[in-house]
């Protein structure tokens, strides 16, 4: 069994896509800060990027229940174009390891101290021959507000 440092939170896994432990976000009340979450896709699989090249494909999406913080924006990695046997045109996909950054804002009246906020990553993965139903994995982010 792996033991995580206290600043790292356990993360979700689908078997194909795993969220890696994220470093604790330190933020001052009344200011903004960014947090990066890293994900690892099993070799041989891809997931659609946040901006799929075909209308029918389900985009990668990270959402947060960020209370007491606010989400200012989510920055997704740019997909790379890759051709698969089942597609006539290359598709905008992510493979291997990738990061998603989120910019948070702590309102001035945010209670100081530790918090944990929860995110959900929805994705849809395929191999060259097989696709898997859309799945959602949980992401926990430890936050320290000063």
């Amino acid at each position: 069994m792996w033991l995580l440092p206290s600043t790292l939170a356990a993360q979700g896994s689908s078997g194909i896509l795993n969220a890696l432990p994220a470093s604790r976000l330190t933020i001052k009340a009344g200011e903004s800060a960014a947090s990066k979450i890293s994900f690892r896709l099993t070799p041989g699989y891809h997931t659609n990027s946040n901006t799929p090249s075909e209308e029918y494909l389900i985009p990668l999406r990270l959402t947060w229940d960020a209370t007491p913080l606010r989400v200012e924006g989510v920055d997704y990695p740019k997909g790379h174009m890759e051709k698969y046997d089942f597609s006539e045109k290359p598709l905008s996909v992510l493979t291997g390891n990738f990061d998603i950054s989120t910019r948070f804002q702590a309102p001035a009246d945010t209670p100081k101290g530790p918090h944990t906020i929860k995110g959900k990553l929805r994705f849809q993965a395929c191999s060259n021959t097989t696709c898997y139903p859309p799945k959602t994995i949980s992401v926990d982010l430890a936050v320290q507000v000063h």
Binding site: G15, F86, Q124, T129, C131, Y132, P133, P134
Partner: protein, 202 residues
């Protein structure tokens, strides 16, 4: 065994089967994946709605060969197969083939009906649910196709994208069309080249 490791085990098995499929395809012609009659198990019965709201029972198709295909609108490999299945439906309908597509789209008819209107699929599409998927082994990967013989038994299973010629061989065997013309008058191909052979059959 937890769900993650179960899933990983399934993926490893699927990868191994796919590898065997690829290895076989490089040295031998495409062979039908049809099981011997003694090894076939009864296809689980179901009652699902079609796009017109009619209830369709699998038992309605007893006496026919059924190509039961689980698919979804977000599944690229599924979309590659659909024109093949439309062709099979047209060519072999009079020989006793019925293609049934079972959509596993979570959003249901809201996304499936517009797709049907665009693609003019000529075979029956049903809306699946978890219960039916579970009866057919979970259907965790798409496309998944089950070819059911005239006695209602599962004769062949294809998980993931396989070549059109594999389906052709299976249907030839189950419809008794080897070396014959289809009832619709289409000549049967003497040799079917494997255009694609990447997925695993189980």
């Amino acid at each position: 065994m937890n769900s993650v490791s179960t899933h990983q085990t399934r993926m490893a098995l699927a990868a191994a089967l796919a590898f065997v499929g690829i290895a076989c395809s490089t040295s031998s012609p495409v062979r039908a994946a049809v099981k011997a009659e003694k090894d076939r198990k009864n296809a689980p019965g179901f009652a699902l709605k079609d796009s017109m709201g009619r209830t369709v029972n699998l038992s309605d198709y007893k006496g026919k060969v059924v190509l039961l295909n689980f698919w979804a609108t977000w599944c690229g490999p599924c979309k590659l197969e659909i024109p093949w299945f439309m062709e099979f439906e047209q060519k072999y309908k009079d020989n006793g083939l019925a293609v049934l597509g079972v959509s596993l789209d979570e959003e249901g008819w809201d996304v499936v009906k517009p797709y049907l209107e665009r693609t003019k699929i000529n075979y029956r599409i049903l809306l699946g649910d978890d219960a039916v998927a579970q009866m057919y082994g979970g259907v965790d990967a798409l496309p998944s196709s089950f070819i059911i013989d005239r006695e209602g038994r599962i004769a062949a299973v294809h998980i993931g994208l396989v070549s059109k010629s594999e389906y052709q061989k299976d249907l030839d065997a189950l419809l008794g069309l080897n070396g014959k013309k289809s009832a619709a008058g289409f000549p049967m191909p003497a040799v079917v080249a494997p255009a694609l052979h990447l997925g695993g059959a189980r």
